[in-house]
């Protein structure tokens, strides 16, 4: 294990440096990194029985920084590895031109930043990871160089940097009050009057970065304006990193600060995001905007974890089910959304635009891609048997068990809305007309299909990931039975 964690942290960064030096070899370097990381993760997950901690440089916290892998970290590391591998296989950039020279190192830096965040237990180190993630994501959003993409990227950057500053302010206040940055040191802290302010600032910053309604304004233009492989990373992975920090913060570091009003507010904003994102997705004429607004809605589900499993509810029997359900949702959404954006990229290249009408007859021209899109849609709607279904089932049952059935409203209505807005592209694809799409090689259609199948398998074989998530599960989400 003393080698596995450094491999996960350092290999994407080394790959990015190699891709800066040899832009022409970008794809080969990216795939090499993917092979090393998938192998490292297989070894890690295979041998993970209790959380693994690695103090960096031999310096223990509070002086140094420790990396730690528990079930939650392993699950997100795995999500990042699977999605990034798919994206790197699918990415079409070749040669040493502007786009290729930027894409490969930036994509690998994004992966490195994600891994750094998923491994970290240190608030300031998490801030540095977020900075790297933000810069790589903004640059990828601007990659096409069109005026629209540049405007969307600038807007994204302004929001994201504001989020970073708020988070950093909260981190500084936490350090000032407790002289500690390690998450494990905070539950046993000596309470200070400024704790709520610090937690509020960190949370506000992370909400902006996660694009929870009403901080979602930057998401749809940035995610839909990026090239498809970049959109897949931005939508499937980047908001999950800031949400992951929120989970760590509220369920491990500061669970005692979870006041009922705060938990209720998070749940209400999450429900509002589900409904707003769904309605907005219904009204879009362009496929990439439909998928991007669907991300706004799907992010809303994640925040139901606060009222269902946070604060005083943490001690209740249903809390663990809600916590696990939300993590399942994050994983299933990541796989399904990456598959959808990669499909959209294939159709954009084949049709010349991404209007939904342009998809008419796509089922004949690109059957595998349409199948992949439909499978991903099943998971987003929450139909069985899919990861999305398992997630919603756990959330809805814990809402009823908690005697708060109104928290089931979002998942149930959200599923209907998702069915409505995803019906339009699928209906167009199955229209009985001669397709006007240029042919797409089967090999390219196989990547989104594999990712979408992953989202389905997460529901069919939910026991192994379920067991993985129980390793080192936070105390606040661990009491009681499922």
């Amino acid at each position: 294990m003393s080698l596995i964690l450094p491999l996960l942290a350092a290999v994407p960064l080394l790959g990015a440096i190699a891709a800066v030096l040899a832009p022409r070899a970008g794809k080969g370097i990216g795939l090499g990194v993917a092979i090393v990381l998938l192998a490292a993760l297989a070894v890690l997950v295979g041998g993970l029985n209790t959380p693994v901690v690695l103090p960096l440089g031999g310096w223990e916290p509070p002086l140094g920084i420790a990396l730690r892998v528990d079930g939650l970290a392993a699950a997100f590391l795995g999500l990042a590895a699977v999605v990034m591998t798919g994206v790197l296989i699918a990415a079409p950039y070749r040669g040493a031109g502007r786009e290729a020279a930027a894409f490969w190192p930036l994509a690998l830096l994004l992966w490195g930043a994600l891994n750094a965040i998923f491994l970290s237990r240190d608030l300031f180190n998490l801030y540095v990871g977020l900075e790297l993630l933000t810069l790589a994501a903004v640059a990828l959003a601007a990659l096409s160089g069109s005026a629209g993409a540049l405007a969307a990227a600038i807007r994204y950057m302004v929001f994201a940097l504001m989020g970073s500053l708020l988070f950093l302010l909260g981190v500084a206040l936490t350090y000032a009050a407790h002289g500690a940055l390690d998450l494990a040191a905070l539950p046993g802290r000596n309470p200070q009057p400024t704790d709520a302010l610090a937690a509020g600032l960190m949370t506000a910053g992370l909400l902006v970065k996660t694009a929870l309604f009403p901080f979602h304004a930057w998401l749809a233009p940035a995610h839909s304006g990026a090239p498809a492989p970049a959109s897949a990373m931005l939508s499937a992975l980047v908001p999950k990193a800031s949400f992951y920090i929120l989970l760590r913060l509220w369920f491990e570091a500061l669970p005692d600060l979870g006041r009922p009003g705060f938990l209720w507010l998070m749940g209400a904003l999450g429900t509002a995001a589900i409904l707003y994102g769904g309605v907005m997705a219904l009204r879009q004429a362009r496929l990439k905007l439909v998928i991007a607004y669907s991300t706004v809605a799907q992010i809303g589900y994640l925040f139901l974890v606060f009222p269902l499993a946070g604060g005083g509810g943490a001690a209740q029997p249903w809390a663990a089910g809600a916590w696990t359900g939300v993590v399942f949702h994050a994983l299933a959404h990541g796989l399904a959304k990456a598959a959808m954006f990669l499909c959209a990229g294939l159709w954009l290249a084949a049709a010349g635009n991404d209007r939904i009408e342009a998809l008419r007859g796509a089922a004949r021209a690109t059957p595998m891609a349409v199948f992949a899109f439909a499978l991903a849609a099943i998971s987003l709607m929450g139909l069985p048997p899919s990861g999305g279904f398992t997630a919603k089932y756990l959330m809805v049952t814990s809402a009823f068990a908690a005697g708060a059935p109104y928290w089931a409203l979002g998942p149930l209505l959200g599923g209907l809305l998702a069915a409505a807005y995803l019906y339009r592209p699928i209906a167009a694809a199955f229209a009985p007309v001669e397709p006007e799409l240029r042919p797409v090689p089967r090999g390219q259609q196989a990547v989104p299909l594999a990712l979408a199948l992953g989202a389905i398998v997460l529901g069919l074989a939910s026991a192994p990931p379920f067991d993985l998530l129980q390793i080192g599960r936070p105390e606040a989400a661990a009491r009681g039975v499922e």
Binding site: L13, L14, I17, G57, A102, L109, A136
Partner: protein, 308 residues
């Protein structure tokens, strides 16, 4: 006496910030922002945080100032400026009040200062700031240098496809008898000595890779702006090697530790062998300085452009 100085300094910081926020033109706002940066670095000096003061003066006031003024040069000439923004002003004031309350509510605490000072000599650096940056929290520093690289890749990605492969920034033209040409001959040798000294001094006194790198970046920019040397193309292998040299050596050293840890009990990822820690830290700092200097200079120069 010192209390009076501090109060005047605080008033000038707040005054410069307000002037920057309400200035009549964007140019005036940029200038007040630079002035604000200089005052803030004075405040860090008063707080005995010499390393932060150096960094704030070099980056906060210096490089950011150049970036703002250059961006201003690109903007279409117009007298329009955004009107008073009430909501951000209120949010800023609210945040300031909350932080003020937090300052008063918190007990005075030394943080980890004493622990760091005790452990620093064992980490190979007498300057506790260097010990934190390159030993205790080396992972942060490593990621920060890679953040700089990501920023530069992002800026380069903004070039137009036709200009890709040219040197960073616009081609410079200078009058041979102008002020810039004169400065370009006199200042670089002085700047180079100061920059290298800051790195060298960093192990035992205030200074280090970021501060020294900024000074050297200014030297590189001056040489390029004075037309004394042509910047290399963004596709140049040599330039790219210099850009990644610091992070690569840092990451490589860190990784060797991880591999050694398989059979050596004392070794670990990001751990430097204690016997050689001091010289290794200096070596890493020198490589980092080189990369930071070139990255910062390239960031300020901007994406490659043809005169279109």
């Amino acid at each position: 006496m010192t209390l009076a100085f501090d109060l005047v300094l605080c008033a000038m910081i707040v005054g410069a910030a307000i002037c920057a926020a309400v200035a009549g033109t964007i140019f005036a706002a940029a200038v007040f922002f630079i002035v604000y940066g200089i005052f803030v670095s004075l405040a860090w000096l008063r707080l005995d945080a010499f390393d932060v003061a150096l960094a704030e003066a070099a980056m906060g006031a210096g490089l950011t100032g150049i970036l703002l003024l250059r961006a201003l040069g690109r903007m279409p000439a117009s007298e329009d400026r955004p009107g008073p923004a009430l909501a951000p002003a209120l949010a800023g004031a609210g945040l300031a009040l909350a932080l003020g309350w937090a300052f008063l509510a918190l007990p005075e605490s030394a943080g980890l200062g004493p622990v760091v000072r005790n452990a620093a000599p064992g980490a190979g650096a007498e300057n506790p700031v260097t010990a934190v940056l390159l030993a205790f929290r080396a992972w942060d520093t490593l990621l920060e240098t890679i953040v700089l690289l990501a920023a530069l890749l992002g800026v380069w990605a903004l070039s137009r496809d036709e200009a890709w492969g040219l040197p960073p920034g616009l081609p410079q033209r200078v009058r041979p008898d102008g002020v810039l040409a004169g400065f370009g001959r006199i200042l670089p040798p002085i700047g180079a000595v100061v920059g290298v000294y800051l790195v060298w001094a960093g192990t035992s006194r205030p200074g280090g890779a970021f501060q020294g790198g900024t000074v050297l970046a200014a030297v590189a920019l001056l040489v390029s702006m004075a037309g004394l040397a042509q910047a290399p193309r963004v596709t140049s292998g040599a330039l790219r090697l210099v850009l990644v040299a610091g992070p690569l050596v840092f990451l490589g050293m860190a990784f060797i530790g991880a591999v050694l840890s398989l059979w050596q009990p004392g070794a670990a990822f990001l751990a430097l062998p204690e016997a050689h820690a001091k010289s290794l830290i200096l070596g890493i700092e020198l490589m980092l300085t080189l990369s930071i200097a070139v990255t910062l200079a390239a960031l300020v120069a901007g994406p490659p452009e043809d005169r279109a």
